[in-house]
Subunit: 544 residues, 2 copies
């Protein structure tokens, strides 16, 4: 394989680099029709590199300098609270089109996290926080039933190609260490794990045999490899467990159920809670970010926002304060299954109980009745929860509840979540978010089919669907589409209308502006009730 | 083909009939594990009937009685305003689990419509209104480029199989009359059309050659066949057209652009507006329902909620009042492309300007950047707009903007919109809406795979996805799933936890209730901040 730094996995696209020495990768999409090229956020990472070699270690010099300076806490929050703007923060400021000061201040306040383990130098730094673009996570991982290491690395590349901002490796089984090593060395995005899964394997799958020392050993092993954030279910307290007994679907989180079983078996408080200080020591040493897991998240609409879930959430808030005392970055995981009317309450409670630490939610699914389509049931909830301030959305694939996702499921899940995240960005009015919508819509209106494909989240599918009805190359420049046929296309008619209007005195932009302002004023003056007579004051075109 | 009235197109399901002589069809799903069968709303219509024969004419006696009584206005609103509860209303009350009086009163007030042309006796009556279940519409129709009559009837059956509550026939081309006849005679759901399409063909595709008489003639022709509701773009007024000239995507509605072209060509007010009284005469005679079209709906995020759209909406409100003077049922069509933060404003304005006439929206799409996935971009908007009170959602398929939907696209679009509508029903707290979620979640938690498939919106896909990873029949009764593998399944662990808890004193339901109440009280007493010490007051199980 040969490596061209400008290579992009998308058509009509190339990587360009901003920020001088920082070399922040951005994808530039070439657009026709005299329109400017569009630059978009890029998660794809360097292309064409042999997976056995791994990606360039771009962050290594920054870490080396810190080690030379004798640092012992590698958390970005630690630097931020000292008032420093790190290269990671400057890199992120360029990606997000914000100031480096905003990045630093949000990290210092705990409202955003930069998951960046110094042992993961292949990383292209990114940020997770309400003030920034909504991020998405894709889960990959083998299981006892299927999949191989090569498959998993390919799934990683595939996930970041389509736009995953972080990837969680949920592998279990014999090759877990080696799988993770391959993933770390080939990932341009932060990698998260759930260390209790591997810890459980070390005790032969018996939750009751788990203990703090085995868990800390696992944390060290994974942090040493470069894992950027850990999901840890420290909020599953003994006293919350009976609250789940009358639930429709009990405890559905794997980590949560493991810890519940441990607590009940020993009749003791969770070692992930009582040992939180020892856990913090490892997190600090490697600059790993906490993702405090919601082990008691609801597994059905019926169980949403119940006492068990809210009790755990309050404990996660307490632990956030604890972690922050060590300058350890912390985000909070959320549900799950939540009907639409309970989503805002969930976010508001999370913000309050967890002191505005970033929220990282799975979906939520807004109904339980559509297995096979849970990427969609959850995209509705994800877009809503994102619009209310959730910083990162964990994807759900069409195979949720039914089986392991294959490559096409991962693509479908990632694109679906890019949609939810982008809809939320538009809703929040994120600067520049609408540029891509505008560019694509303009291309659509002007029948620039190639541009419409190239500007879309999934150019391959857009082209494939178009070609299914009209495969001829000529159709891609045709001024009609298959929906209406050649003699009957609303877009064509509108173009005629516009030309007609221009020919008759509507070409003058100022005149139109004045006309629109006048209309709006009349509309307002009438209290929203429109004038019932034809408006003589507006210049109307004469008949031809 | 043979006709068994109890036949359902779904597994483990049969049609049963409620309401005595009314014979209201309901789908009953058999459930295992000692759980009761679940009855769900059914749109599928009688099965196994030769399309050339057509469905039984179940409403014929009701219409015959009215004709004998000398009625001249066949609108359900007409009867409702006289205080009558028609058989259609009683039928609907059973389907919706509400009182017949509520149905009558909502129709009389104009807040709901029952599209039911007496010349469509094959209909199973249904209602569209905010107080009832959110409905969905599927569009079918040939075009100059592809498709045949047989294809279209099969698409109709396919649409209602998956759950379409109404179907719009958007056919254009030579066989338009015959296609429609086949569709009417085989449709158990209301059929809508956009008559201007056929009128345009009568004048050889030249919008400027349209006139009121050709249009009225088309209305008569279609109403005579039994079309239940007509989309008519009477709100595209001459003075609104220049307001679209500076839009990013001009006029994207076909009907809207046809009328815009007509208005500009003649420099006259739209004949659909000036001739509204004559149009009402036909509507009344056949009891057809208005669906006042949004010819100026936005075609992109940029153009959402602009002056052109809102001007037209105000005119639609004025026309609603006009139609109601004739007791003609009326609903209002809505956008289109709308970012999440403008959706509620849109619904609120529609309610205000259109006097709470039912809103019937296309999506809306919440971003423009995902052609190939616009069923999803729009499901987000559809669920939201439904939760705010929109009564019917017009589906969008994955082929939107790219080509004509095939059968699989129709299925994907209908199921996606069933999800959006159901999520909205849950949000609105519709009585009984959550029963199916609860039944499915309970089945999921108890590893009753067959029940999980059978209770889902698309049993075939759920089974197919499950079998892709674990095809063996044994896996369907296994107490684990492929996500976690046989030794490591959170649901299995939770079951163990529950059994354990029960063995140790949590089996007594009253004790659990008391425990939960106590917890909740403590939680509230702490002002949402959870107690930080272990609660000694709660009976905890002893270690084994």
């Amino acid at each position: 394989m040969s490596h061209d730094p400008h290579q992009s996995p998308f058509p009509a696209s190339r990587k360009v680099f901003e920020g001088g020495d920082l070399e922040v990768p951005v994808r530039e999409i070439t657009v026709g029709g005299g329109e400017p090229a569009l630059r978009v956020y890029d998660t794809t990472g360097p292309q064409g590199i042999d997976p056995k070699v791994g990606l360039p270690k771009r962050c290594q010099p920054w870490t080396d300098a810190r080690r030379e300076a004798g640092e012992t806490n590698f958390s970005q929050m630690h630097f931020a609270r000292r008032g420093e703007i790190t290269p990671e923060m400057r890199f992120i400021a360029i990606r997000e089109s914000v100031t480096p000061e905003l990045v630093r201040d949000e990290v210092a306040a705990g409202r955003a996290v930069i998951p960046a383990n110094p042992n993961h130098p292949e990383l292209e730094p990114m940020i997770i926080g309400e003030r920034f673009l909504v991020k998405i996570n894709a889960n990959i991982g083998n299981s006892a039933v299927s999949s191989s290491i090569e498959d998993e690395v390919e799934k990683l590349r595939w996930s970041v190609k389509w736009g995953a901002d972080t990837v969680m490796d949920l592998s279990t089984g014999d090759d877990i260490h080696e799988t993770r090593e391959w993933i770390m060395r080939n990932s341009p995005v932060p990698i998260g794990t759930v260390p209790i899964y591997q810890a459980l394997e070390k005790v032969k799958g018996k939750p009751e045999n788990l203990c703090l020392s085995a868990f800390l050993e696992t944390l060290e092993e994974q942090a040493e490899q470069g894992v950027d954030y850990f999901t840890i279910h420290s909020g599953v307290l003994l006293r919350y467990i009976p609250l789940t007994a009358k639930r429709l679907t009990g405890i559905v989180s794997r980590g949560g159920s493991i810890m519940a079983k441990w607590c009940l078996s020993h009749h003791k408080e969770s070692f992930l809670y009582t040992g939180f200080e020892e856990i913090c020591a490892v997190m600090k040493k490697y600059g790993v970010t906490f993702s405090l897991g919601d082990g008691l998240r609801p597994g059905s609409i019926r169980d949403a926002n119940d006492a068990a879930q809210m009790g755990e959430l309050a404990t996660l808030g307490e632990l956030t304060t604890h972690a922050w005392r060590h300058d350890i970055q912390t985000m909070i995981e959320g549900p799950g299954h939540v009907p639409m009317h309970l989503i805002k309450e969930n976010v508001d409670l999370q913000k309050k109980l967890c002191h505005n630490a970033p929220f990282y939610t799975l979906g939520p699914l807004t109904t339980d009745i559509a297995p096979g389509y849970d990427h969609i049931t959850s995209a509705i909830g994800a877009a809503m929860i994102g619009s209310y301030g959730t910083a990162m959305l964990c994807y759900v694939t069409p195979k949720e509840h039914l089986g392991l996702p294959n490559k096409e499921d991962v693509r479908e899940g990632v694109i679906t979540y890019k949609i939810a995240a982008h809809a939320a960005d538009l809703c929040k009015g994120h600067p520049g978010a609408q540029e891509r919508d505008d560019a694509l819509s303009k291309a659509r209106f002007e029948f620039r089919w190639e541009d419409q494909f190239n500007l879309s989240l999934d150019p391959e599918r857009a082209r494939e669907y178009h070609d299914e009805t009209l495969p001829a190359d000529g159709a891609k420049v045709a001024h009609f589409c298959s929906m209406c046929g050649p003699n009957f296309c609303s877009m064509k008619i509108t173009q005629d209308v516009r030309e007609y209007a221009e020919k008759n005195g509507y070409g003058d932009e100022q005149a139109i502006d004045a006309g629109m302002a006048e209309k709006a004023e009349q509309f307002r003056a009438a209290g929203g009730e429109i004038y019932l007579e034809q408006d003589k004051g507006t210049p109307l075109p004469t008949a031809p």
